[in-house]
Amino acid sequence: MYGWIWRHLPGNAWVKALLSLVLVLAVVYVLFQYVFPWAEPLLPFNDVTVDNQ
């Protein structure tokens, strides 16, 4: 999977490494900005109130 991505990136090893880094950062950004905020309320880690539900 990651090998496949690596082989399909253009350029030499340095360019590939740089592009990989950009890809990783993009993925982390999407996770922090959209995926985790969406997933968080669905997970039972951060309820602080008492209620009768």
Binding site: M1, L31, F36, F45, D47
Partner: protein, 253 residues
């Protein structure tokens, strides 16, 4: 397709080495490929979970503190403006005041209306509107000023709630007054369905008569929300805010 070709290549490798003249790199077989993809998926899952921990314990704090600071500034500005134009209506939208709890060593915590995640995730404390409505100290009526805040992440404003002991001060600051409360009872663990802790007279705290109470709730143990941690305080006195906003002696120490 390539994989089947490779496999036949491998089996015939010993008998006919000259079948493939080009010295190509040997490709892994179908099973090896499946195993390696599976392994990579597992690694990905691990990294994802790790990132989620980083997100919930660090990043949400960064975001929440930034938002809370901005909102707090807005409230203070508002107060400064109103000071000149005389008393105005209590603005519950931006926040009604600040909670100072020296024992928690977390500075001031803005208090806003409601305990939904949309409120609490901004790094503030919220006073209950549901299931039991909080009685705001500004009304001067007997009742329970019940607030909630996050223990971890999103500002983690009540992270150190376990540092609070009997006799510790909790000070609520509004535009015109300092409400000085003293902790008199702590419930280190209770069910999340225990809404009685929010009652106007919280019987579990040992008090039977109406009075001016404050209730702090958050989740416990840390990093989970299996149970709730509750701290009760009682109003000791109310001080008028002076021109320099000198804090009461409990906050000066």
């Amino acid at each position: 397709m390539a994989a089947t070709a490779d496999e036949t290549e491998e089996t015939t490798d010993g008998s006919e080495p000259a079948a493939d003249p080009a010295p190509r790199r040997r490709r892994p077989g179908r099973i090896a490929l499946a195993v390696s993809v599976f392994g990579e998926l597992l690694i990905t899952a691990g990294v994802l979970l790790g990132l989620f921990v980083v997100y919930s314990l660090w990043w949400t704090n960064v975001i929440a503190d930034r938002k809370a600071d901005r909102q707090a500034d807005k409230v203070r500005e508002h107060w400064a403006e109103q000071k000149e134009s005389g008393p105005g209506a209590l603005d519950t939208k931006d926040g009604i005041g600040f909670l100072h709890v020296p024992a928690m060593r977390n500075g001031e915590v803005l208090v806003e209306k409601g305990t939904g995640t949309d409120v609490l995730d901004d790094g503030v404390a919220g006073y209950y509107t549901d299931p039991v409505k909080a009685t705001l100290p500004t009304t001067g009526k007997d009742g329970n000023f019940s607030v909630a805040a996050h223990r971890d992440g999103h500002g983690a404003k009540f992270h150190n709630i376990d540092k609070l002991e009997k006799g510790d001060p909790i000070v609520f600051e509004t535009r015109d007054d300092w409400y000085v409360y003293k902790v008199y009872s702590v419930l280190p663990e209770t069910s999340k369905y225990n809404v009685d802790v929010l009652s106007p007279v919280p019987k579990e705290s040992g008090r039977k008569k109406p009075g001016h109470y404050i209730t702090l709730t958050t989740c416990t143990p840390v990093y989970t929300s299996r149970h709730r941690y509750v701290v009760w305080g009682e109003l000791v006195r109310v001080e008028k805010v002076d021109a320099a906003r000198t804090p009461p002696k409990e906050l000066r120490g």
